[in-house]
Subunit: 266 residues, 6 copies
Amino acid sequence: MTTDTYYANGNEVQLFEQAYHQRLPVMLTGPTGCGKTRLVEHMGALLRRPVVTISCHDDLTSSDLVGRFMVTGGDVVWTDGPLTRAVKAGAICYLDEVVEARHDSLAVLHSLTDHRRTLYLDRAGEVVQAPETFMLVCSYNPAYRSSLKELKPSFRQRFVTLPMAYLPPDREAEVIVAEAGIDLAVARRLVACATAIRTADEAFHFEPPSTRVLVTAAHLVAAGATELDAAEACILAPLSTDGAVTDGLREVAVASLAGADSSSRP
Amino acid sequence: MTTDTYYANGNEVQLFEQAYHQRLPVMLTGPTGCGKTRLVEHMGALLRRPVVTISCHDDLTSSDLVGRFMVTGGDVVWTDGPLTRAVKAGAICYLDEVVEARHDSLAVLHSLTDHRRTLYLDRAGEVVQAPETFMLVCSYNPAYRSSLKELKPSFRQRFVTLPMAYLPPDREAEVIVAEAGIDLAVARRLVACATAIRTADEAFHFEPPSTRVLVTAAHLVAAGATELDAAEACILAPLSTDGAVTDGLREVAVASLAGADSSSRP
Amino acid sequence: MTTDTYYANGNEVQLFEQAYHQRLPVMLTGPTGCGKTRLVEHMGALLRRPVVTISCHDDLTSSDLVGRFMVTGGDVVWTDGPLTRAVKAGAICYLDEVVEARHDSLAVLHSLTDHRRTLYLDRAGEVVQAPETFMLVCSYNPAYRSSLKELKPSFRQRFVTLPMAYLPPDREAEVIVAEAGIDLAVARRLVACATAIRTADEAFHFEPPSTRVLVTAAHLVAAGATELDAAEACILAPLSTDGAVTDGLREVAVASLAGADSSSRP
Amino acid sequence: MTTDTYYANGNEVQLFEQAYHQRLPVMLTGPTGCGKTRLVEHMGALLRRPVVTISCHDDLTSSDLVGRFMVTGGDVVWTDGPLTRAVKAGAICYLDEVVEARHDSLAVLHSLTDHRRTLYLDRAGEVVQAPETFMLVCSYNPAYRSSLKELKPSFRQRFVTLPMAYLPPDREAEVIVAEAGIDLAVARRLVACATAIRTADEAFHFEPPSTRVLVTAAHLVAAGATELDAAEACILAPLSTDGAVTDGLREVAVASLAGADSSSRP
Amino acid sequence: MTTDTYYANGNEVQLFEQAYHQRLPVMLTGPTGCGKTRLVEHMGALLRRPVVTISCHDDLTSSDLVGRFMVTGGDVVWTDGPLTRAVKAGAICYLDEVVEARHDSLAVLHSLTDHRRTLYLDRAGEVVQAPETFMLVCSYNPAYRSSLKELKPSFRQRFVTLPMAYLPPDREAEVIVAEAGIDLAVARRLVACATAIRTADEAFHFEPPSTRVLVTAAHLVAAGATELDAAEACILAPLSTDGAVTDGLREVAVASLAGADSSSRP
Amino acid sequence: MTTDTYYANGNEVQLFEQAYHQRLPVMLTGPTGCGKTRLVEHMGALLRRPVVTISCHDDLTSSDLVGRFMVTGGDVVWTDGPLTRAVKAGAICYLDEVVEARHDSLAVLHSLTDHRRTLYLDRAGEVVQAPETFMLVCSYNPAYRSSLKELKPSFRQRFVTLPMAYLPPDREAEVIVAEAGIDLAVARRLVACATAIRTADEAFHFEPPSTRVLVTAAHLVAAGATELDAAEACILAPLSTDGAVTDGLREVAVASLAGADSSSRP
């Protein structure tokens, strides 16, 4: 799998770069699998800064971010967490799915995201001034409606916000070909299938299939699976476990796989 | 009990193998006792990879998965958890009943299930790249309707999903004979009893009896119990503790045990 | 008090023994004080296996069951919990009131209750194969309706289930005589009193008086208390603290104590 | 204040003694301040057994009861808790307000309250058989209606239950004279005041004033306070903080203080 | 600021002293800032006893009150908490806002507030008898209606309860003059303003302005602020953040400041 | 970015200074980004006192404020927290977003905010008297209506409260020019855009755009972004993730950007 390709979908690369040069933090929003993580990796390479990734979750404490005291040789020594390491290294610190984090953990970010650009390590009694090259990037998926959590408006206002979206169908098919090495015709049928479900999906209120699941399905086809088997395992089955819904979606899938160019069907 | 036999019910073995060769994670779904754990053990033997099993539950922390610092000889040393050990060994890591785990514990799986195939041990400050032979497999039972938990759609989309189901009656009876060493006629009567309850059960909304309870009942019969005693203790009693419901189900059981070939009844 | 007598009420001894020889786990269900604990002690003596009893409760962690690391002489050493000790000793492990345990604590039992018969000590990095003589027995009271907890159906299906009930009145009176050494006539009056309340109790939805409270009342009578005082303190008072209900039940008690053979009243 | 006087109100002393000689646990129920704690102290003196008192509350863990491992000189040594100390010493162990305890903490009492009379120290791997002189006594106030907690019926059935109540007015006045050394006429007026409020109180659903608050008021009178000031501070003010209710109760109090023999009013 | 002046508002000083001499615990009730803390400090000076103050809150454990084991030089030694220190020193122990404490933390007070006057340090295995000069004083604000917590009636009955209230206007103005050194006319206008809001406030259900905020406003006036600015910052702004309500209250304030003697307005 | 400029919007600087000289604590209220933090930094410079900033959150314990025992060289030594350090240094201690803190953590502030001006370190057994130069300042945003938390009225009454607001448009545009170095015409268009949204926003109940986001947008413009791109990323995108709302707000933004002087549009 090619890990260092990024497929731009607007002016997000330019705005990200301008925010970096103005030392402003960036918030990426958009659906699952639309390329948020890849953009960050791409910008890290472009700006020649290391990227420190932190997957946020309910149990992430501020100590997990900034560090904690640990016992070594009978003594207690402070050990920097990934956020502190990123600040000191002048790296891009990427908080993935930041909406999942406990709000109290996010409080340590306040002084890093305004004019202070400072990290207060209260427990260690240390104050760290971020170097010019340090950048904070967060991401979350606002379309995930079953989430009970919300970022506070005052927190969102601390960031330059870049909304992201799926690629248009033709570009998406090209990406699938580039990633999984299958025929363009197969890629187009998989995209047609996803597009049909994304449209139908508004009635079902499920998370629509992402570019990532299309690439996964393409990999299975490359390994010998039929297109329908691959679509069922990678696109349909993860959507719902309700039999009636799945049957309805399977009809949509079969029709869309058939309705497109079928020259390379195995 | 023969522990290494797997009875296939579709193309799940082929799709599992294709996912393995494409280094894609797999999600197994299906009712209790339909053979999810056995499939994983079977594929481990087939692909010649060790299987590391982790039973998920509410209290499983990400430290239980990836490891923690422990005091040895006065110092604190990092100790790998079962997930980290599985990644380093290039094993199949099997997370049984993954829906039971706390969502925050699952966040550490994200970077293992996309193109990165990397495990970030934030607390140890270590990054582990998974070898080609590492595979992550999860399972859960979507039919268990009283569960309050749901896997996030974005998490489900990270996996090739293989839905599994009970075997057809004739195959199920063969399995019972092979496992418990009883007559085929007895096995068929037990399957008939289970099938009758599975059908009736839709009105009761209970978890239907699995192949596993039929094998258990067959073992009791092999040990000298009557078919009805065995059916009551293994098939009926676990279904409900409501007397009226149990009485209704017992009539179904008696009728189905009687209605089938009774040549070998003890 | 005679601690090693068990009064059978059906074929539960035979089915328990058959399950033991087939290496199957057993679940005992039934009301408070109907003899579940005594059956397990009786089977331990009969099968010549030690019994390790664990009283389940909300706060029982899986570490309490399987063991934990403890500091000794500056080092951390693993110490087996009672479940692990029972598995290694090939004992009968009895989890009393298993429905009270946290579900996550029960996850460690999964691999012990299917064909694997294996205990995974994830934290110690150890895998324990149960010897042939190991047996897991659980119990709970399904009639206790105010409980908010329920065992998962998939968990219940892992066991041979033996429903238990109160003894018939004549047998119950004999047990009381044998346990407390009072006259049969007194015992019969106490049983008549309990039976009257058990019948009336369906309207009140309280936990009916058990054989245990009758034995307790008999002990008080043996120590010099009047039958009515003993019945009030041991049978009536624990049922309810609502004065009106207690008054109604006292009438039932007085009438039933009077209506039976009164030859030996003190 | 005389700490060793107990004023009996029925046959509770005899039944307690009979339960002790039959090695049965006792449960005392009744309103606040009716003498439960004093009965236990009295019986301890009568039976010549030390009394170990444990005030139950939400945060009382089973470790607080049975003991825990503690670090001493670098090693971890087991330290018995008060329950274990009481069992080993053959003392009377008194769990005050047992309904306040977490149910899981009470699970360790099960094996002490049935024929086993045994304390299992799972974490220490020790089993303690209670000597003949050990006795477990619990108490709670069932009239406290705003409590959200309830003892499980199966737990209540493990005890000989002795319901307790306030003394009749004449006896209560004698107790107040004996405790606080005031004139009988003053004591009678305070009892009349309490009795009036206890009757009126049924409409208000508050906890009625106990003998204890009357003794407290008598002490204030002995120190020079007027009867009305003492009644306001000790009887009325603790009942409610709702001004309208308090005004209504004050009228009741003034009337009852005036309506009784006023010869010794200061 | 004069810290040792107390302005009596009834017979609370006499009753407090009588309770002290009878070794009875006292409960102070009344609105915020009416002088509860000052009364305790005043009585400590009058009775020549040190005062140990403990501010209660949700997170105050019984260990915070009585003490805990702490590691010193490798060993674990018991360290008394403030309550234990107060008991041993025969001091006045003052639990401020006791309603905020967790009920389980209050259980340790039971044996100190009845005839036992004893502190049981269960974890240390120590029993401390309170000396004659020890006194327990608690306080809470019953008028704070949004509180979800309530003291248990049985707990309230353990205390001599002294309800406290605001001073009458003339006395309140004298206190302000004495505390902040401003003109009596200014003090009267500030009291008139507070009285107007306290009356209007019944419609708004807010906590009325206390004597403390009037003293604070007087201090600002003494530092050069206008009376209206001081009244806005100290009396009005803390009452509500709802603009409409604040506007209404400001009219009340302006009118009352103007309606009183304005000779010394700056 | 100029970090030491403060733009006054009323008499807040004078009242803050008067409170400081009277040793009174101050509470700042007002919307996100209206300058609360900057006022505190400004007053620290003006009064020549260091500022210790503590960002409050749900997980901030009183130990995080006052200090804790820590293991060093085998022993346990007390380490002051930031509040204690600020008290001892006679600094300005600034609790940012104090409404987010757990109420129990705020209890330690009581004795610092009344006439005692004392910090009780119960666990360390130490009492710290604040020097004359110590000042406590808290802030919160009362307009953030989705907050579930509320400061207790009795807590709010302990402070001199200074309500703050956005600057008037002309002053706001000057601030943006001073901070980001862009043309006054651009700054005015951005302020016009924010003002239009602030007005429209009352219908949407979102947090209105702050001066801070205008400065951020101005920085992006200075880096080469178009005004509309900058307004979208910094002003519109953080407001809502609901597409319909965002579309409506974009129309407002485009109209207001166009309606103002457009001479310097890039």
